[in-house]
């Protein structure tokens, strides 16, 4: 059980890092300085990405990490944060 929890945490960290890298690259290619994005920042509200950008981000992380995004694990109405997104990858 302990091992499973550790593995889960580690997988979330990998996804979180992949998300951070993808967001930074997206901002960089758009010629924007990366604002301070906390793992709890609402990406849509702070204007980091739009809905199309968010979809690209999810698909990119699916490919990089080899994991599937499960929309049933995230409530979009609560806000889309890096942390919430990371938890929705299985």
């Amino acid at each position: 059980m302990q091992q499973n929890i550790a593995a889960l945490a580690s997988s979330e960290d990998v996804v979180l890092n992949a998300l951070r890298v993808a967001v930074m690259r997206k901002l960089g290619s758009a010629g924007r300085r990366a604002p301070a994005i906390e793992d709890s920042s609402n990406l849509l509200e702070v204007g980091v990405v739009d809905s199309q950008g968010l979809l690209d981000l999810i698909l990119e992380v699916e490919e990089v990490c080899g994991l599937m995004f499960d929309p049933g694990r995230i409530n979009f109405e609560d806000g889309v944060t890096l942390r919430a997104l990371a938890l929705a990858f299985a």
Binding site: S29, S51, G53, P71, F76, E77
Partner: protein
């Protein structure tokens, strides 16, 4: 003829305590909506700012305050001019100035932006802040305007509101313009009532229906949402911004029966695997408009909403909301046989569509040409732009009736089996998430931002069907740095028009005529 204002008054009379609007967790009955709007409208009347010669701007984003502003303008027989708080203040000021607005209604969330906007407007306005008890501090610095808060509004008296004539303006919308400035279209009561009559007859909504509201007020499809719903006595549910990219859960929770969106929303839901079979069982109508609808999305949607009829609507702002429609077959195998992009079908009753080839002759079946639209839904022309009106609102060579035609600039083909098929544009206009974008307007902004003449904007990247996902910009290598260019673009363009990438080009490619070689630029991105 009924007017939009009459629809509201009738709604208050027939459906008083039923839900008219749900936004941000707040429910308004028909009586409450009309009373709130009547207080604003009555104040406009008292200030002699009501009537068909007046225009009332509404700065707000799908909020109770913004919908009330629209309803107030309709009751006051004035045209509303929607201003999108996501757009930069400079662009909003340009629109407000060009529209010659007399009044401005501001919703609760748009206070700060309103200050920036009003500071740019010399024309004295009556500024309504119905959610506030006193004007904000910044109002003191703007003595040219009159600020009216909650306590300054007239009592909710309905006498003298509504009514009007068919040629009264209903709303004035601004879309992207190829000269670098947005262009306006004044849609009259007769135009919009012609559309609503067709839509009401086609969809037969009832007071038990619950409608999605996903469109910003700067998108004319929001007029369908509001007034088709309110004409039927149904309830309009504003999907919260946070749920807008994936509103399936919202639809299920509120048991919504009418869906209306751009296909992009469905595409995102499909890509996120949210459109499982029977995921949206409450829907009885699924309507898409504003951009090309890929068949594969229609197929997935039809399975996800098996109790609904799916339709693809088509129509530019100039022809009022939607003017053609294609109903998808109920049989999945028949949907699978449709073209890759779902056809746009046939004109609504009383409207006309013709495909005209380059030599001016009508296209025969299977041939393509420019799509012309005619009928009572077609507006008179562009606001204060007689030159552009003559160019675009011209009939096909052999047309005698109806009197009003609009050249869309869209390429289309007539198919015996499916009616009209949309094939793309004849010019450089593109659609992004349903928004019209003239790439020349982006280039004007880039030119100013980069302080150079050699700039270009193309639709890129494209998806697997060749539909645009964004805009890529090109500037010469010696231009200002890309970050500064994009920051300047963000200060003047709506977010969807801001390029998401800038390429710096050492040797500017030109064709044999010395003009920018767009194909060569596109190759640089591949």
């Amino acid at each position: 003829m009924m007017s939009l204002g009459d629809i509201l008054l009738e709604g208050a009379l027939q459906h008083g305590e039923r839900t008219a609007l749900w936004a941000d967790g707040v429910r308004l009955s028909y009586r409450e909506l009309v009373e709130r709007a009547a207080r604003l409208a009555g104040t406009l009347v008292a200030a002699q700012l009501a009537g068909p010669a007046r225009r009332c701007a509404v700065l707000g984003a799908r909020s109770i305050g913004a919908f009330t502003g629209v309803a107030a303008a309709a009751l006051a027989r004035s045209a509303w001019v929607p201003l999108n708080p996501r757009h930069p203040a400079e662009r909003l000021a340009h629109v407000a100035h060009a529209a010659e607005v007399d009044a401005l209604v501001i919703d609760e969330q748009s206070d700060a932006l309103a200050g920036e906007l009003l500071a740019r407007l010399d024309r004295p306005l009556h500024v309504f802040l119905p959610d506030r008890s006193s004007p904000p501090d910044w109002a003191r610095r703007l003595p040219q305007h009159v600020f009216l808060c909650r306590g300054d509004l007239a009592p909710p008296v309905l006498d003298g509101l509504g009514g009007g004539r068919p040629d009264d303006g209903a709303y004035l919308l601004f879309t992207s313009g190829s000269t670098g400035a947005p262009k306006g279209v004044l849609v009259r009561q007769a135009n919009v009532m012609a559309y609503l009559a067709s839509a009401f007859d086609r969809y037969r909504p009832t007071a038990d229906d619950r409608f999605t509201q996903l469109f910003d007020l700067t998108f004319d499809l929001s007029v369908h949402d509001m007034f088709l719903c309110w004409k039927s006595g149904g309830a309009l549910f504003c999907v919260p911004d946070r749920a807008r990219m994936a509103p399936g859960e919202f639809v299920r929770r509120h048991d919504l029966s009418f869906w209306f969106s751009v296909p992009s929303v469905a595409m995102i839901m499909a890509r996120l695997r949210m459109l499982q079979p029977d995921a949206l069982p409450s829907l009885r109508w699924s309507l898409f408009c504003g951009e090309a609808l890929p068949r594969r999305i229609a197929e997935v949607w039809a399975e996800a909403a098996p109790n609904s009829v799916v339709e693809n609507l088509y129509g530019p702002t100039e022809a009022t909301i939607a003017i053609t429609a294609f109903r998808l077959p109920a049989n999945p195998a028949a949907i699978a046989r449709l073209p890759e992009i779902v056809p746009i079908g046939a004109p609504l009753p009383g409207q006309q569509a013709r495909v005209i080839m380059a030599d001016g002759a009508p296209a025969v079946t299977g041939m393509d040409g420019e799509l012309y639209l005619g009928g009572s839904q077609v507006a008179e022309g562009y606001w204060r732009r007689p030159d552009l009106t003559v160019e675009r609102f011209s009939p096909p060579a052999d047309a005698t009736e109806p009197p009003r035609w609009y050249r869309t600039g869209d390429r289309a083909m007539v198919s015996e089996e499916h009616g009209l098929i949309f094939l793309g544009r004849l010019d450089r206009q593109i659609k992004l998430g349903g928004h019209r974008v003239e790439l020349q307007e982006v280039e004007v902004a880039l030119r100013r931002a980069a302080a150079t003449d050699s700039v270009a904007a193309i639709a890129s990247p494209l998806d697997s069907l060749g539909l645009p996902k964004g805009i890529t910009a090109f500037v010469t290598e010696d231009s200002l740095d890309s970050e500064a260019i994009l920051a300047a673009c963000r200060a003047t363009l709506p977010p969807y028009m801001v390029p998401f990438r800038v390429y710096r080009v050492a040797e500017w490619p030109v064709n044999d005529n010395g003009k920018t070689d767009y194909a060569a630029l596109r190759r640089m991105t591949e």
